[in-house]
Symmetry: D2
Amino acid sequence: MRVTILVALVCIHAAAADAQTWNPPADSARCPSKWGAGDQRGAANHMKPDTVLRAARLIRTGQVFELGRRLEEGMPLQTTRTFELHTKRTAPLAGSNRRGSNEEIVLAEIGQVGTQFDTFAHQTIGDSLYNCFKLEEIATRNGFSKLGIENIGGLMTRGVLLDIAALKGVEMLPETYEITVADLQQALQRQQLTLQPGDAVILHTGWGRLWGKENDRYMRTNPGIDVAASEWLARQDPMLIGADTAPINVTPSPDSRLSNPVHQIALVVNGFFLLENLRLDELASQRAYEFALIVEPLKLVGATGSTVAPIAIR
Amino acid sequence: MRVTILVALVCIHAAAADAQTWNPPADSARCPSKWGAGDQRGAANHMKPDTVLRAARLIRTGQVFELGRRLEEGMPLQTTRTFELHTKRTAPLAGSNRRGSNEEIVLAEIGQVGTQFDTFAHQTIGDSLYNCFKLEEIATRNGFSKLGIENIGGLMTRGVLLDIAALKGVEMLPETYEITVADLQQALQRQQLTLQPGDAVILHTGWGRLWGKENDRYMRTNPGIDVAASEWLARQDPMLIGADTAPINVTPSPDSRLSNPVHQIALVVNGFFLLENLRLDELASQRAYEFALIVEPLKLVGATGSTVAPIAIR
Amino acid sequence: MRVTILVALVCIHAAAADAQTWNPPADSARCPSKWGAGDQRGAANHMKPDTVLRAARLIRTGQVFELGRRLEEGMPLQTTRTFELHTKRTAPLAGSNRRGSNEEIVLAEIGQVGTQFDTFAHQTIGDSLYNCFKLEEIATRNGFSKLGIENIGGLMTRGVLLDIAALKGVEMLPETYEITVADLQQALQRQQLTLQPGDAVILHTGWGRLWGKENDRYMRTNPGIDVAASEWLARQDPMLIGADTAPINVTPSPDSRLSNPVHQIALVVNGFFLLENLRLDELASQRAYEFALIVEPLKLVGATGSTVAPIAIR
Amino acid sequence: MRVTILVALVCIHAAAADAQTWNPPADSARCPSKWGAGDQRGAANHMKPDTVLRAARLIRTGQVFELGRRLEEGMPLQTTRTFELHTKRTAPLAGSNRRGSNEEIVLAEIGQVGTQFDTFAHQTIGDSLYNCFKLEEIATRNGFSKLGIENIGGLMTRGVLLDIAALKGVEMLPETYEITVADLQQALQRQQLTLQPGDAVILHTGWGRLWGKENDRYMRTNPGIDVAASEWLARQDPMLIGADTAPINVTPSPDSRLSNPVHQIALVVNGFFLLENLRLDELASQRAYEFALIVEPLKLVGATGSTVAPIAIR
């Protein structure tokens, strides 16, 4: 009997421990994607004329907000990433009109620096990607043969800013603050908005204030969502989640065993996009909570993402 | 007397010859720019709430046209330009969630390859640029300190497609055909449209059919506008001129002494932008002549331009 | 009975077929290397004072032969490899002495272009490298943590040119000619030389005549050694094998199932180096068969090889 | 009278001030070079069989000293210079022999990083280079059409280490210590050596101890020669001057108006080379004062220099 109780206690403990961590779903649980076997576009499939019209209707004043960061040498970069711009010599003057030409060579992980739009080639669960494409079958030295950013196209959709910092009455959430489902719901309530399928859900943490000022701190940790909130957001069927942080996920994850589960939940499991390093101070200070979001990823064939310069218009 | 006549004939001939070439205006004739001394944004100053609203009103069906070319190794490139994408090794799996990360290093004249948006740092008349900024004062090894693309911001304006190929009853204009002022006016008439200040004027030559198929030919020569038509267009006060060719200018210029005067007329003299290597086949075949054009140049600080993925929406 | 004979014939044929192909040896058959478990330097261990003195004694006239190719845009390159040199803008004149500085940015697989020295990180048998280091344990995004070129150091040793083209009475061996063990032995005999441990064995095929003239042909196929000759050479315990071809191995291998076995025999199994794309026309025409070879690989930490500019001196 | 004295005093002072600064010689005073009009190789013309033999005779024990620094991300770099090595994905296994291939893409000012060999395209006096080649006539976007490193070839010559640190009884000279002509002469005397035309003169300051340890400090200032000592060395007709510092010149120059005059005196005026960022600790500690120096610049067509991995052998 003692043995039985011991076993029971052990089992309960184990169950409790398991309940604390998150395990990526098995392939069979997530594939094929709801968009169909072989689909490479995930939530970009939300782009239909109605989506565009819905967003266009939100353009009432013509006010444009620039959400993209400047790409320059002093910007925060993940370790091992680079951004370099080398101005080439001016070409010799041509013609009787004495025309000189300038250009530059840029060397960068141009899919993954600055304000960036991540697509499905970017992340794996083990060797498996969105819609269960296999890494070794699609990765080459010069790009991914499936799931590259060129499949996405320009996106125009309704954007909703959830100002979590304002909800908490601060300018900047604490550095490892986990945004909860309750936070998201309260923000919606406070801002009198609801989410709709195909939305771009933009989270304002205030962490963006550190960009270009305290780059190491900006990159080292950050507030954000984790498993619960991102799974809840996934159930709202968004086109993308964006934030004024680099990894979107609270860093580090409260569960120290996990590495940025939000990236997997978004890009691998549910097939929607992440939009990182946004500049949201203006949107927040001007209480622009609902707007048309337009983002145009570069058509870098086989790339895992694109640096972008998105705009919000209301 | 014979001498006199001879001299007179020579003078008339010389005058005629002079009248056939184009000389860039002197600095005093073009500076300061109409937007003001020190202005760096030129026709981007047209971006006002009204411009956005005017464009938004043209979004009636939500139909989106992708105007950007795919960026890949087989695309046409000017000599000495490059585009390379190297997929990096997948990062070792991280966390109990076995998260793998992929990214790529891109090496390219990312301001001047593929579908590209040229800004004022790109061109000079001698050592002088738009608004008479001087090359040696603003060019550095790592970007231009003035007139870089980061000054422009996202653009949303009314776009007008002038289908010159259709006007001439062909799928593709002949390779060195010069589009005249009369052609532009007849196209507007045929399409029952007028130009307005701040418009994006998009010229369909049909030359884009060669992209990815006959790259050398695509790059070697092309139909397009020259001095007269671009000066006429400049007087319509556009935000930009775009086309489905690389240099916009008919190549070679009919005046063999000139090297792409349209680039100087647009970027140096009048301060509006050029949008090159557009994909216009769909817009043309679907007779989408009037639309909202949205283009988001990357904020590459100090760059002469940006590869872009613009969309047209109607 | 007929069945028995048939089976016997089939078995004999299969055995013969197996005997014609080459299978890389099992790890246990080649590891640890003769230089010791954990050794990363292979035949570079031959570099001892005696080796240097032996080579120095061959310097009798002071005549120097340049064996390295020019690195420039028109050179033959394997597909997906690149070489670009971009001259940067001259730095603004500094000081009262008006000093201007020039430099260039070079983008290249600088370990694997032009005249190149391959080291052990370059090749695998499956996931295993020289001395049974495992790929996943030593490969990172920014270099190999073991077996990188920085472990090698400058090499100065006796060089022996085996002029196989001259042996065959031609200027250039036929394009898929396999150099046999007999060829090597006859060349040594004809040239009255013997090989010694630690030698740099340089093979003149004449194929180098195509460099810069018929680059596609240079790269597509070439004469060279294959399994038998490289295994024989391996038994002579060389420091390296070099040739005036890109892959050293006859291309394609006579056994169509194999992909460049010489690379594995040299770099993975036996731990000596390969020196490719040498310029040997002068050495051959001047009958410089024995000389001091000096090669200085760049200390690119973690790289798989280095572009080099070796010299031969006699 | 007072006025006269004042004027005299002013004149004497001005003369004294002029005597303290250095002015680069006029073109007519230095061109054509002693090697002839149109010469591009300068002191590389010292490379003759006798030079090689003279150096070879110094190889008595076969001891090799590696003088090159490791090229890796943590090394000191001048601002705006870069060194990046990106390991590419392993190529899919090829053949029945399961051959995997690895390579890396390197992005760097490969002529001007790490242990580097500067040639004449690197420096100007105004718009004029060695042998009065003019910058605008020889500089292109993809290399210099004259004076590029490909003209130099491998160099093997007598090397002489002048241990100035030991002369002064220190491990490292003070950071802005100017090495004088007297220092050089006393070092030669102390070490019982004389200089010969065509020598590689290597200066040990001890500053190299900071490499990889205090990179900012290594780059910010350093001891070294200035005008007087370099002009004296120039009169000894060397092949090159090397040191364990980045700029060779004491930094800053004692004359605050000058910017690294040694670079101009060597590369522009006198046409000999500079070999920077050498690792000299071993040579110095082992008192290897006379040796064969062998340096093999990469044949980067049109480049201003080359990263190198030189060796000294005695």
